[in-house]
Amino acid sequence: MSVSMSTTEHHTVPPEIVSTVFYSATVSESLAILVAETIGGTQRLTWGNESALRLLGYGIEDLRVLPVGRLFPTLGGGELKLLLRRERAARMTLPVRTASGADLEAVVVTTPSPGGRMWTVRLLSTANEQERALRATADAHERRFSALTERSPVPTLLSEQGMRLAHVNDAFCSLVGRRAEQLLGTGWIDTIHEDDLDGVIERVAAALEGDEVEIQARLVRDDGTVRTTVIRFAHLFSPGVGAGFVGTIEDITDRLAFEARLAHQANHDPLTGLPNRTLLAQYVAARFVSGTSGLACLFLDLDNFKVVNDSLGHTAGDELLVEVADRLRATVRPGDLVARFGGDEFVVVCEDVDEDAAVTLAGRVSDALAQPMRLGGVDVRPYASVGVTVQTAEHVMAEELIRDCDIAMYQAKAGGKGRVTVLDQQARAEAREKLRLVAELRDAIEGCEISLYYQPIFGTQDGAPVAVESLARWNHRERGAISPATFVPLAEESGLITGLGLLVLEETCRQIADWDHLLGPAAPPRANVNVSALQLDDNLPAQVAAALERHGLDPSRISVEITESALMKDPDSARAVLQQLRDLGVELAIDDFGTGYSSLAYLRHLPVDCLKVDRSFVAELADGHAEIASAVIALAGNLGLRTVAEGVETVEQAEELARLGATYLQGFSLAPPMTGGRTAAWFAARSGEER
């Protein structure tokens, strides 16, 4: 404390003033203190400390003649009274005039002594105050901050109060295509999409209360275009002022568009741009309400698409698909969905239609497709078979609707190409029945419910049994015995044939080994195993070899029977497989010979040992028609092949076939199919008779 008293003896400072000075909380070395008194109606300065004299540049004597008003030139008229109040302290920020005539900005605080005729006057020069430095620092901070955001490429908002903005940067202005002055205050609210505004205000409220939040919101540009953005709000607190926020904006419009494109690609066929199967399923599922009606599906399959692809090439095929897609889009009603189901299959989904309307639409679609189009220099009419299904109370699941129109399409195709068919209830019931049966067949194969029966085959000359044919039997728990004529095609259609074929092969080999063990030389010399066309691939020889090896059998104990039609599906590859089997040492027979259309020239080159004469030709013998059976047997003889006549029912037929030269006979009257155990007993008995 260095408040020195430069008083004169004539003007002593009253003790109360001294105490005010000394005990004032804010006294410091730099504090300038003056004393003013009312003398003769005007206020004059009567004392000042050294700081005050130094600050003002007056000597104490000069000061003492100075009216107070001279120090404060901006206080005109009666305003001095507001500074030197009789009963209360006062505080003003105003210029103080120094001896040199210069003005000094200062905070002036006056305190009256009791009686109201004398005041201490404290001068705080703001020029030297730390406060000013702090303010300058704060200003510099703010300038740096605004310079930073101003040049930032990130669109940035700075709030003033509530939703009101104090500052926006250039990046935000160009994002919304407006000038800063249009955006400050509440102007920027106009750029927020009306539907997103509530959410934005909610987030601002959260940010003002201290949270960091973000929201996806659309901003409407001045030109009316819309940008989708993520706005992130951070809390901002200014002491003494209140809360605000900083908002940064990320424009995600392009990213969303890209994502949408990806999503579109995932759900659409790239060739035709139509929705794909995935989207079709979602679309139908979204509209399907069980127990209602009104949804209809059209399933289209191009007739002869494969011909176009094979003859004119895949490019032409693609061109055809695109044209079909365009025609479909142009023909359906607005709001109908056209989807590419796969390959040359298309599905149209309509809402709020009855069967008549759906059939009318299907007809219109057929007509539109039947218009010729030029493809690779050829006029092509892309006829389609169309299956139609309208939703009924029986449809429980959305996918049943599409499945049913798929069935209807197959009916259409079966009825001749280029037709429209509405799914009839019987076909539907049949299809469902089939589905159930497939599931049960799968269980049967896995659960070994398929058992094998064996039917002996006899030599024509000596009547001795030379082999057995393995026949699969399905004994259904509820339906009883199911014919192979039913379940074998079913297995072929549903991809179960491989499993079934392997089961038959394996079980037959096991059974032969078992017979060998039981009967020794009296065991059946050979077993014929039927192989489906679909099994006739490169895996078959290895599967056969493995089964034989597992049961320690010679390859000659097995004969593989293949239908004629199976051989004709892919003759070259069939021949290769047969050759491999033949090399293995397995005998080969062609089943149902004469029912297919195999060329005789081709037959000559097949490595087979035996032809089986179809039972239909054998049956004709009874009617006196021996021509075909005779021809087949003669043909086989000429090619050096043996023959088995199937379905021999009578002694007369047997004799006739022997006369025609058939090598072997097989038939219910000769010996019925029997279980493995019974077959063993049968062979044992035969062996006993011969001995």
């Binding site: 008003g69 008229g77 305003e79 009274k81 109040r85 505080r91 005539g101 509530g162």
Partner: protein, 297 residues
Amino acid sequence: MTVTPFPGSDTRVAPVPVFDIEKVLASIETMAAQRPVAAQIVSVANSDDTSAKALARILASDVALASRVMKLANSAYFGMRGRVTSLQFAVTVVGFTTVRTMATVALTNLDDESRLPENFWDVTTSLALAASSLAPRFGERPQESLCLGLLAQMGAALLHHNDPVGYGEILASEPTYRGRRSAETRRYGINGLRLTSVALEQWGFPVSLTTPLKEIDDDRSMDGALLRAAFEVAARLTVEDYEDEPIVRLTCGRLREDDVVPVLDQVRADAAELRRAMLGETAASDDPSGNPEEWTP
């Protein structure tokens, strides 16, 4: 820094005011005693460690004042569309200076129109909104400028209250604000704006708020220019047959007439709502934000 010749030792006797200005100031303090909550807010709101929570707690004991703050926070001016349902959040939204300004208005009975010069609030809301809209052009904070506009005429109201007849004569004889200020100085020894600044300084309002009040008649002062422009806008909107003053001259070239057009529209649009919030009037539509029963804690 202005350098003027050293004044002689002669003492020019100031014209004797016709009444004691100090009594006017003293009367404010008497009023303050009647509104202790508002007085408390005025005294704490400028401290750096004030929080919205603390302010809201004090504010809650003056329901009339609190409901005005709520109403203002939900007004179009702050763009919050009725989202403000708690007093603390209302304080956050409008800002501490605004709360303080509203407390000052209550404290000085500016919300009692029967004691005010005619047209007082029409002019004041226009002045406040104009100052707020123009603030960015002058590098000022709009919020603070809004408060400046709301409080500027406090001195004039006090003069009118203490000398209704004499002040009425000034109003009648002086159509312009500048002329009125000169007349006030002649009659009272101080003009209304300076009286406002003295009172605000006394209560510790920031210098940035008081300087424009002191420098309005210094045509070279940028600090005074914003307030001059705001008065010009208010006059154009509220004074009949007003003769425009060129805005370029009033603002040291900072504004052109084109800049004023959108401000006139903006002020016209928001004035009524601001007035309702400041005076606690209820609009024709029922406004839940004014009802304390509806607030969340």
